[in-house]
């Protein structure tokens, strides 16, 4: 998803400065070159006897271990603080390149087409996963056209909607509630139904960004069996589509083959826009349409790369926390040792 990914400090100079400060303070604190100052100190002699005692060695060993651990813990905490101060950030960039293909599924919602629609929807659902940047819309029509969803590249939503549509059509029962609810509004007048010309023209109007150079395609599934007369005839609608530079791919229902005139009209209209035509049942699939869509010229448009900068305080917080907890534990251990010594003394 993200093309490049880099982690760096927001303020590297601050981190460097603080690290140097920690080092300087460490050296100043240890001062390996300096002998202890004699001011204000009292002298003792023959302290070498002290060093010969077994208890002295025990205490020194303990102090060395505790001191080393405390120093390490403090340094870890310091490094955590330095990392936090330097503000570690992750910089992610994504070069965006949208492919500009708009596809409107234009389905005849008349009762006779239910099975074919379900088939087309199923096929289409499988190719959604292969899409990137394309926008898909779904329009169903009979006497009138309604948009189930407009052109969008929210594929999750698209798949959800396609599944719902497929479910409604797949029942095959024209009188089921699912079907009735889904296709509600497509029939305004029972005398005017399955108007392919009107449907195609409506689908052409679903494209937006008319001023942009985009590849536009319609997948038109119909049986071209109109009842009554509509506003657009099929050739008129095809002309309109050609004017708008919309390629129409036609899928005819198997039953259309019984009416050669209808098939011819359909094929001619589709051919006029430069699309493919397939009669479902001939080869049993909508493969040709899918391939045709894949072949559609995708015009990439450049968009400025998307850059996102995220703070990554986790490492610093962890280091600081581990260091502080370590210091607290060591202090507690020191206290416990002192208390234990006192108790042993008092016994």
């Amino acid at each position: 998803m993200w093309d490049s990914d880099s982690t760096a400090f927001r303020w590297p100079w601050l981190a460097l400065g603080l690290a140097a400060l920690v080092l300087v303070l460490l050296v100043l604190w240890l001062r390996p070159w300096r002998r202890p100052s004699r001011a204000g100190a009292a002298y003792v002699a023959h302290a070498a006897r002290l060093r010969a005692l077994p208890r002295y060695r025990t205490l020194v060993r303990r102090q060395v271990v505790l001191g080393t651990c405390l120093t390490v813990a403090a340094l870890v905490a310091c490094s955590g603080a330095v990392v936090l101060a330097g503000r570690l950030q992750q910089r992610q960039t994504m070069t965006q390149e949208d492919r500009t293909r708009d596809i409107v599924l234009c389905l005849d919602a008349s009762g006779s087409m239910a099975e074919v629609d379900a088939h087309v929807l199923r096929e289409f659902r499988t190719i959604i996963s292969g899409l990137r940047g394309e926008r898909v819309g779904l329009t169903i029509w009979s006497g009138a056209a309604i948009s189930v969803f407009p052109l969008t590249d929210d594929y999750e939503y698209v798949i959800e909607q396609l599944s719902a549509a497929e479910k409604a059509f797949a029942s095959g029962d024209v009188y089921s509630d699912d079907y009735a609810i889904f296709t509600a509004g497509t029939v305004l007048d029972w005398d005017v139904q399955s108007q392919m010309g009107d449907g195609l023209a409506s689908c052409v109007q679903r494209f937006d960004h008319r001023d942009e150079e985009r590849s536009r395609a319609i997948v038109l599934a119909s049986d071209n069996e109109p009842i009554g007369t509509g506003i657009f005839s099929v050739p008129e609608a095809a002309d309109y589509a050609r004017e708008e530079k919309v390629v129409v791919h036609g899928i005819a229902a198997p039953k259309t083959a019984e009416r050669p005139a209808a098939v011819q009209e359909f094929e001619a209209a589709v051919g006029a826009t430069g699309g493919t035509f397939s009669l479902l049942g001939e080869d049993g699939s909508t493969r040709a349409v899918i391939d045709a869509i894949a072949d559609l010229d995708a015009k990439p448009i450049k968009r400025p790369p998307l850059v996102q900068v995220l703070d990554r305080p986790r490492l610093g917080t962890w280091l600081l926390g581990v260091g502080l907890v370590g210091m607290a534990l060591l202090w507690a251990a020191q206290g416990v040792l002192v208390v234990r010594d006192r108790r042993q003394e008092s016994l």
């Binding site: 002998r35 100190a41 003792v44 002699a45 023959h46 077994p54 002295y56 102090q63 003394e345």
Partner: protein, 302 residues
Amino acid sequence: MTAHLTRIKSRLSIHAHRKVRGLLEGEYAAIHAGRGIDFNDLREYVRGDDVKDIDWKASARSRQLLVKRYVAERKHTVLLCVSTGRSMAALAGLGADSAAPTSKRELAVFVAGVTGYLAVQHGDVVGLVHGDADRQHVSRPGSGELHLERLLGTVHEAITPEGPPGDLTALLRHVVRTVRRRTILLVVTDEPAVTEEQAMLLRRLTAQHEVLILTLGDLDPTTPVMAGRRLLDVDAGVEVPPWLRRDARLHRELATLVADEAQHMRRRLDQLGIVQEQVRDLDGAVIAIFRLLERHRHARRR
């Protein structure tokens, strides 16, 4: 100029009501081997005077014990032998009831001063041998308070924290080599133990001198009295860290070790027939000198 001796005298006068001074003089007088035959005067008996000296007739007359004083036959030499290494600049151990420890330097000057003062009062001559690992020096014996004061000043100046380390062996060898006359040799040192070489030298010295040893005890670094102060090890020049000094078990172990060493040293010196006392603070110093003189007198009588 007379700063050291004045301080010593005033400190002795604090003890005057306990007759410490008189007692000390008595003890000091008693350690002399020879006694003159010329009768000088009578004075009140003080503890430590030889019973043989009591003038019974005069005592019966005056109803108090009087002893005869004689003019000493010849002048004795008291030789102060002070180890002046840098360890003497450290603090001395705490006395029984003293809150703050004194420097071993002050203590060394004090014990040398008290003994020297007694000798001066008695008309004896006082000399000084002092030295460290680098060099040893003998001052010619002389009499008088001014001379003693000068000797004490020498000791005081010779002891510095930056000086060379102490070396009792070298000092004793120097005494063996350079001192010809018979003296009362008071060795003031802070060595916690006697090495075999030192023992040999001491045995050699006892043949010629009357050897008395005063050892100065060291401050226990783990004592709670010094809890708030920084302590530097004068020998190594490093600090004794505070976390070390708080430990009660270490304190106990060190106390045991020091007591063992002191006992061992005392036993070793007893074998050599040398009396030795340990001095911790200024108050205890007078008592320690008194005990030293008394023990020496008894030791000689046997």
